[in-house]
Amino acid sequence: MSTTTTRKVVIEPVTRVEGHGKVTILLDEAGQVERARLHIVEFRGFERFIQGRPFWEMPVAVQRLCGICPVSHHLAAAKAMDRIVGGENLTPTAEKMRRLMHYGQMFQSHSLHFFHLASPDLLFGFGADPELRNVIAVAGKFPELGKQGIMMRKYGQEIIRMTAGKKIHGTGAIPGGINKNLTIAERDELLVELDQMKIWARAAVKIARDYTVDNLEMALGFGSFESSHMSIVRADGAMDLYDGGLRAITADGKTIFDHVDNQRYADYIAEEVKPWSYMKFPFIKSIGPENGWYRVGPLARVNACDFIDTPEAEAVRQEFMAVTDGKPNNVTLAYHWTRMIETLHAVEKIEELLHDPDLQGDDLVVKGERRNETVGIIEAPRGTLFHHYVVDDNDQVVMANLIVSTTSNNEPMNRAVEGVAKKYLSGREITEGLLNHVEVAIRAYDPCLSCATHALGQMPLVVDLVDASGALLDTRKRG
């Protein structure tokens, strides 16, 4: 038996997140939280085993590292391979088909997270009976919400099927273009449910907005902290989820860098390795590894952009920014609100595209000057996604580096975990409900842990309670 009285709590597995993770909470002799960490215990390995494969396989092969937002990897790899074949200036049909695919994915992924993963916490309370904190209970007590989540997800998945060929792991995007257009019949099928999707998306923004505003005082102290924010933005500063230059801003909105050419990302972003996690820690080079970390994802995108180019989403963005007087919002729980703003933006973009005749065009692929090194960057639902490849003269991939959004959010998630653990767990008897508070902070980021490392398992999380000598005192596992 340990002679010291310091303790460690382990949450393993973390539930209602995509992937497999573990939280360790170290308690001192007085029961105060000394340190808390999120460990990612999966290993990905994709960068290694795609070496030697032909480059045109990348958009189809690399997306297999995830089943939740494979479209992000499909499109990031396709954007990278566009440059290998000199086809980065896509035809209007190809670019719009890819954008439709991407907005469909954003719509379904955000809906999945909000309605299926996050809503149990928001509707029933962070410390509610675990029997209640799941999507089945949501469907039972709030059947209309449960239905909306399922139907919104289905709508996004149908868009993916019509643009990529399959709901999961399609093959639509190819180097230099796309392999199909949208038929009139497909377009008309999507138009049937469009108005309903807009109604539900508006309602979801209101739910998320009301929750955040009504609980603002709690949210301000719930794993919140000041941070830099990064995303790609369009040349005119508009939010653009598919393409744009990199922009990073400080916690109070000052520009760190702007409109950075995607091919030069490595001049601005580097990655640090820490011994206790398989996930790397990216940072902004000009600030350094200690303070150069940043947030990505819906909160960072809404903070970083100058405006949203669809009217309804822009209106709710302005309402969101007004809460912080136009300055960046650094509240962790505000991710939910921004995620729903993007969901509304996505459905507005879908509407715009469905009425665009370019989607029925036949000019699908373009090629030009061959290159050997390439970077493709896209805004995945969870944040900025980097795909970097080197291809040899035989068309084989010889180097690949992927920086996925959850990796960029690694340090922020650790900060959120530690903040919540210190506030809610210190000096108290550790209960399941209190441990869920830690998970709520992680869930706000909608992390995809399998993506961020290298998936071998399901998606649960573990919490360990350990004393000062390192002895394990308690473990809670779920999932």
Binding site: R53, P54, V60, A164, G165, T171, P175, K180, N394, D395
Partner: protein, 246 residues
């Protein structure tokens, strides 16, 4: 001289011609016998054994066995279906077949046979062999991970293209497809227009930079199972095949 040969497949009377193999006559009659190494118009090989049938009770490959008058062929029986499934499963485990990202997916005969036979997972352990990829040619790639040693490319290159670019070396588990050159594929006289490139049943021999151009839903086997084209050979079927009492 009589130019008709009457024989039977699974109790159905089939009319063939002298010199035909069982599989050739069956194809014309609209009866599908699964196959992998067989390819119309080139020398029969008989190596994959997927087309194994029982001819007068004796197992043989339908692609090499000539038809004879009165021959009784068993094709679609429980025993033979199991043998064929077993062969297909062994082909899957002895190579590295990742259908999920293979550009031949949907057009692959091995995959299509597995679907037709209802194979969801092989019953044998995967061997995970180390196989070499040869991407040295500017327009063609050999991915030996997917090669099933059917020799279609060997025969077509030799007999149709007149080049003999491909050959096998080694034996048993070590047997592999190689090229007729000191070093790599780029050192051969293979051209991207060679017919040998169009006959690979799997994704082992591929033209570069054209993968995934056909969308899901429009690939060869997305709509109908492999063999459907033969089974829908209605021009031949009514005239050539008549059900009779066995």
């Amino acid at each position: 001289m009589n130019d008709e040969i009457i024989f039977f497949i699974d109790g159905v009377q089939v009319t063939g011609r002298p010199g035909q193999t069982i599989i050739e006559a069956a194809d014309e009659a609209g009866v599908y016998i699964p196959r992998l190494c067989h390819y119309p118009g080139i020398e029969a090989w008989g190596s994959c054994r997927v087309c194994t049938v029982a001819a007068n009770g004796r197992p043989c490959s339908a692609c090499t066995q000539p038809i004879t008058t009165g021959l009784v062929v068993e094709n679609d029986t429980e025993t033979l279906r199991e043998y064929r499934k077993s062969i297909i499963e062994m082909l899957f485990v002895e190579g590295n077949h990742f259908c999920m990202f293979c550009e031949k997916s949907g057009d692959c005969e091995l995959q299509a046979l597995a679907y037709r036979m209802g194979i969801t997972a092989p019953r044998y352990p995967y061997l995970w062999p180390e196989r070499e990829v040869d991407a040295s040619h500017p327009d063609v790639i050999i991915d030996r991970n997917r090669c099933i040693l059917c020799a279609r490319c060997v025969r077509v290159s030799r007999d149709v293209d007149g080049k003999a670019v491909f050959q096998f070396v080694e034996r048993g588990p070590e047997k592999k497809l190689t090229v007729n050159a000191e070093a790599r594929l780029k050192d051969t006289d293979l051209d991207v227009t060679d017919e040998a490139l169009d006959v690979c049943p799997v994704g082992a021999l591929l033209k570069k930079r054209v993968g995934y151009a056909v969308p899901v839903g429009e690939r060869m086997y997305d709509q109908e199972p492999i063999g459907s084209d033969i089974e829908s050979n209605t021009d031949a079927a009514p005239a050539a095949a008549t059900e009779v009492e066995a």
